[in-house]
């Protein structure tokens, strides 16, 4: 489902170019869940962003769902609309739309809205009473449930999650995590999740650690 081969990425700073990823190779099968851990600044988010096509690698090859990552902004945007789903730490709901519109937004954007599936998701995530509310009227846990629902509504082949429970207390985080893992398992979606928590990482099929721009197991 996801394959990275010898991916390098660096950034120019006032002190010269700093390599963040230095020949990273990784593969993730359909339905598999993988935890990506590492210290702050180790390049976890950069790796996730490259997988999502939000940024382009300096060198190396990335394939998603058996197809190489496009070079153009439009090709990568098309990938994000349908194949890849993103869950952020800060939820990143669209503040101007209510919960119902937020949930359906990405699926409608991809032209893949399935009302029955969406209704199932709403029920599974217990969002029914919140549908008419706006993001600012929701708690952190509620917002993250909406963000997960929005991502899964499009039935992506791969979900990329960046510290999805980082802004939640432990109990809420556990509830959200359990829900996401259940839905991912039910739909056969692959999951790559960045986390600091060894406890959360242990709940996933595999775990890799990023240090000095390279992956270790």
């Amino acid at each position: 489902m996801l394959s990275l081969t010898d991916v390098c990425k660096g950034y120019a700073t006032s002190e010269g170019r700093v390599a963040v990823l230095d020949g990273v190779s990784l593969s993730l099968a359909a339905g598999e869940t993988l935890a990506l851990t590492g210290e702050s600044g180790s390049g976890k988010s950069t790796l996730l962003h490259l997988c999502a096509g939000l940024d382009a690698p300096d060198s190396g090859r990335i394939e998603v769902a058996g197809r190489p990552m496009g070079r153009s902004d439009a090709e990568r945007a098309a990938l994000r609309r349908g194949t890849v789903g993103l869950v952020f730490q800060q939820f990143n709901l669209i503040p101007s739309l209510d919960v119902a519109a937020n949930l359906a937004f990405q699926a409608r954007l991809a032209g893949r809205l399935d009302p029955r599936w969406l209704a199932d998701l709403v029920a599974a995530l217990d969002l029914d009473p919140l549908m008419a509310r706006y993001p600012e009227e929701l708690s952190g846990g509620q917002q993250q449930r909406v963000a997960i629902g929005r991502t899964l509504a499009v039935r992506p082949a791969l979900v990329l999650a960046d510290e999805p429970t980082g802004n939640l207390d432990e109990a809420s985080g556990d509830r959200v995590m359990a829900l996401m893992l259940r839905l991912v398992a039910e739909t056969g979606t692959a999951l790559l999740m960045v986390t600091h928590s060894p406890r959360l990482a242990a709940a996933l099929d595999r775990r890799v650690h990023l240090r000095g721009g390279r992956l270790t197991c």
Partner: protein, 753 residues
């Protein structure tokens, strides 16, 4: 303290465009205000000069068909307290002037003109405001275009006949003479509405400019909220922090104020010649076309800049004063607070509109301007609420997710953009309102003047002998209709013969049955402005007789009464020098035969009248364009500053698969959609303004009521212009978004930690 100040100022070093916009906004606002003030101050100084220097204009006059030196001597010997004046047009030192020759010894005390009477007697001095190339000339504080001299010098230049006698005591005229009362209105009263109009535009432009300042300051305060919190936490008191910010704002205000005053001077210098020509053409007021640098003017310019800055920053400073030291930084708190205020603002807007409607019942010019202000401010205050409603309708009507997000996100941005949109609404409504008023006036005026100028030629003889020779020369093939006019007690009194030509040229707005026969029988016609000012209707009585009809008299600020020619001659035994001619003889032939005769054809008079009209509104048009320019700049300032705050809203949508190019297109489209919605809302507001200008302000200011005509072509042009301005304003922020490196958008997610 200095450390704190350097920390505060470091913001501007990193946000130079914001600093530039703040300075430009305040400088433009100050420039338009001070420019108008400079023009008004120059004109008022001219009126004061005219009022103080020519006080003999305030004495009653005795007139007759011809007054000789012998007539004057006879009256003096009979004990009449009269003083002779010879007045006429003369060219001295290359300048065409109104030359007034007075007799200093018989002029009553207090009516003496500028200068020492001794000068007149000994040196034959000619006093004038302009430098004249003549050895007798000397500069004096006189109205422009006027020269004052001893009656002997005037007799040498204009001929020996006395033009009129000043009567220094109020008594009945001697036999053979008519008494003409001085005008009770002076130039400053007559031109008040014109200057009020200019001042209103100055304040409107100033207000629109302040929207930019308020927007830039609000954003700068919001962006520095975290810094304020840190400075407070590090021990800087709220008082010290507010003091430092006040000092910072004061420096900005003085720099922008100085630039604004300089720019205002240039604007005033550019507009003054048109204003001077208008005042001369419309009111006969001599106003110089050179500006004088008055300390009061530039000091008040700096003062208004400081006041404007404090008014714009007041809300932000108050919030800062109340900010607890550990309040979390909330980058969108400013917008959210504005959104909460929307409802209260809409209520205030509705109250202002209600107040404006109530003021319609109060007569007078100032209530008229109050209605205009209420309409403009009320409309602007209601705008955010209306825009929010329209975007909600747009969201409801759209089907696709992008379209729905587009409208919802537009609504989300309204608090941040509302000030710029309000500025645009004010500028557009003022343009539509003034444009409709000027267009209606232009159409009515040109149709009216075409009707009024019915004769082929209009001639004016230097004296009655010349006039008589002309009539002989013309022969029976031409019809010469005498025209006679005098001013008595501030009212123009016209003598008119009953002729089909004049019946056609003077259509009556309202009249008693058979009005022309009534005029012959001793009734009078009055112009619309006199009827409105004095509340006259046909059948009412004025000093000269019963009002038989009321006629339109556009462009004339004076009340006017028409009598039959014979009655006029009986009341005012003046020489008849002007004639309207119905003839095939070309003007050039008459000019060749009578070189001293002033001959004008219909087309020339029409051209001159229309030119006066166009000049009258040239300044208004220029201020209109400048105000629209300031509004476009306000929009640019808001879009540019908001574009930095937009990233957290745009980045998630981009992450979900909407490319930067598409997002940039949508941002551009959003700006155009907002401008189009504002245009749509500005139209009814502008038309309401036009109606108030035509039906209330014009009637009160000038005394004429005009039909309101609509000019959809102009609205379309203005709409396209505002879309172009909005497009230009959006171009830079949109280009930035389209070319934004993914890294900049990724920072939004990176900042989450």
């Amino acid at each position: 303290m200095l450390t704190g100040l350097s920390a505060l100022l470091s913001h501007w070093a990193r946000h130079r465009v914001q600093a530039a916009l703040l300075l430009i906004g305040l400088a433009l606002a100050t420039a338009l205000w001070t420019g108008v003030q400079a023009i008004n101050a120059e004109a008022r100084a001219s009126y004061d000069r005219a009022a103080s220097a020519l006080s003999q204009d305030r004495l009653p006059r005795l007139v007759a068909g011809r007054i000789t030196l012998a007539d004057y001597v006879a009256l003096r010997r009979a004990g009449w307290p009269v003083s002779p004046v010879i007045e006429g047009e003369a060219t001295i030192g290359g300048h065409p002037l109104r030359l007034i020759g007075i007799e200093p010894l018989t002029l009553p005390p207090g009516a003496a003109a500028a200068g020492d009477p001794g000068d007149f007697l000994t040196g034959g001095v000619i006093l004038s405001a302009e430098p004249l190339d003549d050895p007798r000339a000397r500069r004096a504080d006189l109205p422009l275009g006027t020269a004052l001299t001893d009656i002997g010098v005037a007799a040498g230049l204009l001929g020996p006949d006395i033009s009129y006698l000043l009567l220094t005591e109020d008594r009945a005229p001697p036999p053979g003479y008519a008494l003409i009362h001085p005008s009770t209105t002076d130039l400053s009263q007559l031109t008040e509405s014109f200057h009020l109009n200019l001042a209103a535009f100055g304040y409107l432009a100033f207000g629109v400019g302040l929207f930019i300042v308020h927007s830039a300051i609000g954003l700068a305060f919001e962006q520095r909220r975290a810094m304020f919190r840190t400075l407070r936490a590090l021990g800087l008191s709220a008082r010290a922090l507010t003091g430092l910010l006040l000092a910072e704002l004061l420096v900005f205000a003085l720099v922008a104020g100085a630039a604004g005053v300089a720019l205002g001077w240039l604007i005033a210098a550019a507009l003054l010649p048109d204003v001077a020509a208008t005042l001369r053409g419309l009111y006969g007021a001599g106003v110089g076309s050179e500006l004088t640098l008055r300390p009061v003017w530039w000091l008040s310019g700096l003062g208004i800049a400081v006041l404007g800055m404090l008014a714009s920053a007041g809300q932000s400073l108050w919030r800062l004063w109340r900010l607890p030291p550990l309040t979390p930084a909330q980058p969108r708190a400013w917008a959210r607070e504005s959104a909460r205020a929307m409802r209260g603002q809409a209520l205030a807007g509705a109250l202002l509109l209600g107040g404006a409607a109530g003021l319609l019942a109060v007569p007078g010019l100032w209530p008229g301007f109050g209605v205009l202000a209420g309409l403009l401010l009320g409309g602007a205050a209601l705008l955010p609420m209306l825009m929010a409603w329209l975007t909600r309708v747009g969201q409801r009507l759209s089907r696709g997710p992008v379209a729905q997000w587009f409208w919802a996100d537009t609504r989300q941005q309204l608090p941040g953009l509302s000030l710029a949109l309000m500025a645009l609404l004010l500028a557009l409504a003022a343009n539509i309102g003034v444009g409709t008023m000027v267009g209606s006036f232009r159409s009515t005026f040109t149709a009216w003047i075409d009707q009024r100028l019915a004769a082929d030629l209009y001639v004016e003889a230097a004296d009655e002998a010349d006039a008589a020779r002309l009539l002989d020369w013309l022969g029976p093939g031409a019809t010469a209709l005498p025209m006679i006019r005098t001013t008595d007690g501030g009212t123009e009194v016209v003598g008119m013969v009953d002729h089909p030509l004049f019946r056609r040229a003077w259509p009556l707005l309202r009249a008693l049955p058979d009005p022309w026969a009534r005029l012959d029988a001793g009734d009078v016609f009055v112009n619309e402005q006199m009827a409105l000012r004095r509340g006259l209707s046909p059948g009412d009585r004025v000093e000269q007789g019963v009002v038989a009809g009321i006629y339109a008299d556009y462009g004339n600020p004076m009340p006017q009464v028409i009598l039959s020619f014979d009655r006029h001659r009986a009341l005012y035994p003046l020489p008849v020098l002007r004639y309207a001619l119905i003839t095939d003889i070309p003007a050039a032939a008459i000019r060749a035969a009578f070189p001293r005769l002033v001959v004008e054809d219909r087309a020339a008079i029409r051209r001159a009248s229309v030119a006066v009209f166009e000049r009258t509104f040239a300044v208004t048009a220029a201020l209109n364009v400048l105000t629209l320019g300031v509004a476009a700049l306000a929009m640019f300032a808001s879009l540019l500053t908001l574009s930095a705050l937009r990233l957290p809203q745009i980045a998630p949508v981009w992450a979900m698969g909407l490319g930067r190019g598409r997002l940039a297109q949508l941002e551009f489209l959003r700006t155009l959609a907002l401008a189009a919605l504002v245009c749509g809302l500005a139209l009814p507001l502008g038309l309401a303004l036009a109606w108030v200008l035509l039906a209330v302000v014009n009637v009160e200011a000038f005394g004429w009521r005009l039909p309101m005509l609509l000019f959809p072509g102009d609205w379309l042009r203005l709409g396209m212009l505002s879309l172009l301005a909005a497009g230009l304003a959006a171009a830079l922020p949109v280009r930035r978004l389209a070319r934004m490196a993914p890294g900049a958008l990724l920072k939004v997610f990176a900042h989450e930690r």
